[in-house]
Amino acid sequence: MAQIIKLKDKNTDFLEKITELSGEQITLCEQCGTCSAGCPFVSEMDINPSQIMRLVMLGQESVMDSKTMWLCASCFTCTVRCPRKLDLSKVSEALRQVKLRGAIDEIDIKEISDEEALKLPTIAVVGSFRKFTG
């Protein structure tokens, strides 16, 4: 079922926020799909990189719930191929920033049992707390 989008000032606000944080002019995206096709993680993503650009342009804050920005490895494949020279890894970073500034903890240290804590590689623990806590 098609979702009906109402284009309001709020939508532009979201676009402008991401534009400012990333430093990338998102309205420049011509939706050619080069980024998605070249992305090594695209098969794991729920929303393709090019579609993220589209949804941000439309001001759809629902992209914040997507896995895509967390899967972006900043490998820059999209960046070096984008015919408009957009840096999508910066857009991913901007989206992550917005999420992180929301101070939402995705993991709770108390929920990790001692047993689990011993098994987890240290780097994964540090990484998770950096990425998944506010």
């Binding site: 080069t34 096709a37 070249g38 098969s43 090019s50 191929r81 015919p83």
Partner: protein, 796 residues
């Protein structure tokens, strides 16, 4: 009474600051024979009548108008003089408004003293002004068309039909250009060769067209409605077959030739021999030998063609020929090259054997209906759009305009010939903008060709099957497609042809950001260039399809005809000339003139070609005996101006003498005046055509006569009409700086700076800093000034 000076109040703009009565007294004190008049508005009818009456009644021979900048009313007053029967070039303008009253509003006494200096300099120069003849350049009927593609062909035919004499130069051995390689054309699907061949043949048969194929432009000189080109005609190694009876085209030579090379006109799909006729529709239909690959030229091991030729027309000794052409107009129709797909390495062109360019596909499709086509296409074929266009990663931002349609065409032709082929076109935006194009696009969809909206990210090759795997997002369904294709066609974009470089460099043609030649105005001068008499036709100006190219080519022909219909054009008389009685024929000046306007005449003396000279004055420095000179800015005049403008400098005063090039710096100083900006009152500005006009002698003379600093302003090399001038200026500066150092004089007193039209603040900052600097220096002693006087006598 011979000289009259008119002091304009400019409705108070000048007289509210400058005391014109005091200026009048000053002039009268120096020479009471000078006629001085003050008027409120010299540019008005009444003001001009004053001059006309004085010329007629009092027999004035020289006129000075002390008013606004010459860039406002020099033309007005020149025509005033003309009306009164005086030569317009005996007029001199003293710029009292922009360079004085508007700048020094709050220091009227000092402004008045400065005005006196300005007037003195103008009077000194006016005394030496002499009538200049405004010569007319006769326009002829000769046109050079560069490039024998469809654009050059159409322009040449239109011009030749209207009675013009055309020289058409083509670098390849046949005319026809890129169009001669195409199979059929969109959207009508008529065969390119069939519609092109009659026009190509007409070129050869036309009595008004001289065709040079296998020939390149080596150099073109000229800047305005007179051009001299040097054409290098490469040898074909076939005895001249203007008389076609010589070579019988019997093909015996190619039959024995052991060399095989890819044929350019088949895009390498089919080979040719080292001796060959480029294409079946080649014009001229003549053999040539590809010397690079011929065994005879490589190691002298083969002469088979010469042995079998029944007519004995093969001539290995043939040499290249240089042909000089003088023309009134040039049409640049140098066309395009296709984007080199190797630059886009993710697509593997040149590495994967089943990735081809669209140009190669033109030939593949052309042969596909043959029983044994030279190149098969397989079951599944993909076209990939925007290769090298709309891609900032390769530096091409523009759309090449034709690729969407030629891919639709090639796909359609293939589908019609091989209906079983599964064809996909990967595009970002499909642009079917021309007449009948949208309908053609729809027809291809009706045939079952599938259009997928997505730009492939990269290709890989199946090592065994050699199929090409394309990875692309279908941006409409958001699925990633990863599929093998038997053949992938790259829709290469268009770039300006490499061979255009020599034309661009020698004619000084500007290019747009996209790298193609820039038209004089994108809307209403689409085929003109900024060089008068040079026009653009076809894709040299930007990517376009055949209908647009032909229309533009005819437009270029029409513009040439309209331009040459003037029959004659006035020549600016402010050009270099040679004092024939002084010139000793040393030839030093010859290499100093980049437009190549100076040559030696029959008497062994230098002479200036007025159609080629630009009047920059760069050459003058090269003449050790000041035999070279420039009208309106002669050595004598400049010496007199320098002396006069510094004559009444008081002991405690400092002076910066500014030599301002007329095109940029002089106007920039005007602009400072218009904005009532303030800067040091110690400067005196002299107008020159370019900084290079100020020879070391003149610079030294300025210091010798009391200048504490000399400032030369010119435009930067890139935007200058005389791109060589700044080099000369710098050289002149070095000579003088060395001399200053020898005498222990601060070399910072001599400054050369470059300005664009909007650099007002830069000018003011630099000039004020220089004024501060000389304030802190001790004055140059009279003893040193004497040593600075140029050591040769100033020629009277």
């Amino acid at each position: 009474m011979k000289t009259g000076i008119y002091l304009c109040q400019c409705g108070g703009n000048i007289s509210n600051t400058v005391d014109l009565n005091s200026v009048t007294e000053h002039i009268k004190k120096n020479d009471e024979n000078i006629l001085v008049k003050i008027n409120s508005h010299m540019c008005s009818g009444a003001g001009q009548k004053l001059i006309i009456d004085d010329i007629k009644k009092n027999g004035l021979e020289k006129v000075v108008v002390a008013s606004c900048s010459p860039h406002f009313h020099e033309k007005t007053f020149r025509s005033t003089l003309k009306k009164a029967g005086l030569n317009p070039y005996v007029l001199e303008i003293a710029n009292l408004r922009e360079h004085c009253s508007w700048i020094h509003k709050d220091i009227p006494e000092i402004a008045t003293e400065k005005a006196k200096d300005i007037v003195d300099a103008a009077l000194a120069k006016a005394e030496l002004n002499y009538p200049l003849e405004e010569k007319k350049m006769q326009l002829g009927n000769e046109i050079l068309v560069i490039g024998g593609g469809i654009a050059g062909i159409q322009t040449s035919l239109d011009l030749a039909d209207s009675g013009k004499k055309v020289t058409l130069v083509e670098k390849l051995p046949t005319i026809g250009g890129n169009m001669a390689i195409l199979t059929k054309t969109f959207p009508t699907e008529d065969c390119a060769a069939c519609i092109l061949s009659p026009k190509m043949a007409a070129i050869l048969d036309h009595p008004n067209i001289t065709l040079y194929t296998n020939s390149e432009i080596e150099d073109i000189v000229g800047h305005r409605l007179h051009f001299e080109a040097r054409v290098k005609k490469h040898p074909r190694y076939i005895k001249d077959t203007v008389n076609m009876d010589l070579c019988l085209s019997c093909n015996k030579c190619t039959e024995v030739c052991p060399v095989t090379q890819p044929n350019y006109w088949e895009q390498g799909i089919i080979n040719r021999e080292a001796i060959y006729i480029p294409a079946p529709h080649a014009i001229p239909f003549k053999y040539l030998i590809d010397a690079e690959n011929c065994l005879h030229f490589r190691d002298n091991s083969c002469k088979k063609c010469a042995e079998v030729c029944p007519q004995n027309v093969i001539d290995f000794e043939q040499k290249e020929e240089i042909i000089n052409v003088a023309v009134d107009s040039v049409v640049v129709a140098t066309g395009y090259d296709i984007f080199d797909a190797r630059e886009k390495s993710v697509f593997g062109y040149g590495k994967y054997e089943n990735v081809v360019t669209a140009m190669e596909m033109e030939r593949i499709v052309d042969h596909i209906v043959e029983a044994e086509p030279p190149r098969k296409v397989g079951k599944r074929v993909a076209f990939v759009q925007c290769v090298g266009s709309r891609d900032e990663q390769v530096g091409n931002e523009y759309c090449s305009r034709v690729c969407c349609m030629y891919s639709v065409k090639l796909a359609s032709l293939l589908k019609q010939a091989k209906p079983e082929t599964d064809i996909y076109i990967f595009y970002t935006d499909l642009r079917a903008f021309g007449k009948g194009y949208e309908e053609y696009y729809k027809r291809s969809q009706k045939m079952g060709i599938k259009f997928i909206r997505g730009k492939p990210s990269h290709f890989t090759e199946d090592k065994e099957t050699k199929q090409v795997i394309i990875t692309v997002e279908d941006t409409l369904s958001r699925n990633i497609i990863e599929t093998e294709f038997d053949l992938v066609v790259l829709a290469n974009g268009l770039v300006l042809s490499k061979s255009s470089d020599i034309v661009a460099d020698s004619l000084k043609l500007a290019k747009s950001d996209d790298g193609f030649f820039k038209e004089a105005h994108p809307k209403y001068k689409p085929v003109d260039t900024l060089v008068e008499g040079v026009f653009l036709a076809g894709t040299a100006q930007g990517p376009k399809d055949i209908p647009d190219t032909v229309a533009q080519a005819s437009a270029a022909a029409a513009r040439v005809i309209a331009t040459l219909a003037q029959k004659e054009v006035p020549l600016d008389p402010i050009l270099a000339f040679v004092h024939q009685e002084i010139c000793d024929g040393c030839e030093k000046c010859l290499e100093m003139c980049p437009p190549k306007a100076i040559s030696m005449n029959a008497d062994g003396k230098a002479a200036v070609n007025e159609a080629l000279c630009l009047g920059c004055g760069s050459c003058i420095e090269s003449c050790p005996i000041e035999a070279l000179d420039l009208n309106y800015y002669t050595n004598k005049q400049l010496y007199a101006e320098i002396e006069a403008v510094l004559k009444f400098k008081k002991e405690n005063e400092k002076r910066i003498l500014v030599f301002a090039d007329d095109n940029t710096t002089y106007r920039l100083i005007d602009a400072c005046g218009v904005r009532k900006m303030k800067y040091t009152d110690c400067i005196r500005v002299l107008r020159i055509p370019s900084g290079s006009r100020v020879t070391p002698n003149l610079l030294q003379f300025a210091f010798a006569k009391g200048a504490d600093a000399v400032f030369i302003g010119d435009s930067p090399e890139k935007s200058s009409r005389f791109e060589w001038a700044n080099n000369v200026t710098n050289k002149n500066l070095e000579v003088v700086k060395k001399k200053l150092k020898e005498l222990n004089i601060e070399s910072e007193r001599l400054v050369f700076s470059q300005f664009t039209a909007a650099d007002m603040m830069k000018f003011i900052t630099e000039i004020d800093q220089l004024a501060d600097k000389i304030d802190k220096m001790d004055p140059i002693t009279d003893e040193l000034k004497k040593q600075l006087l140029p050591n040769k006598e100033i020629k009277e």
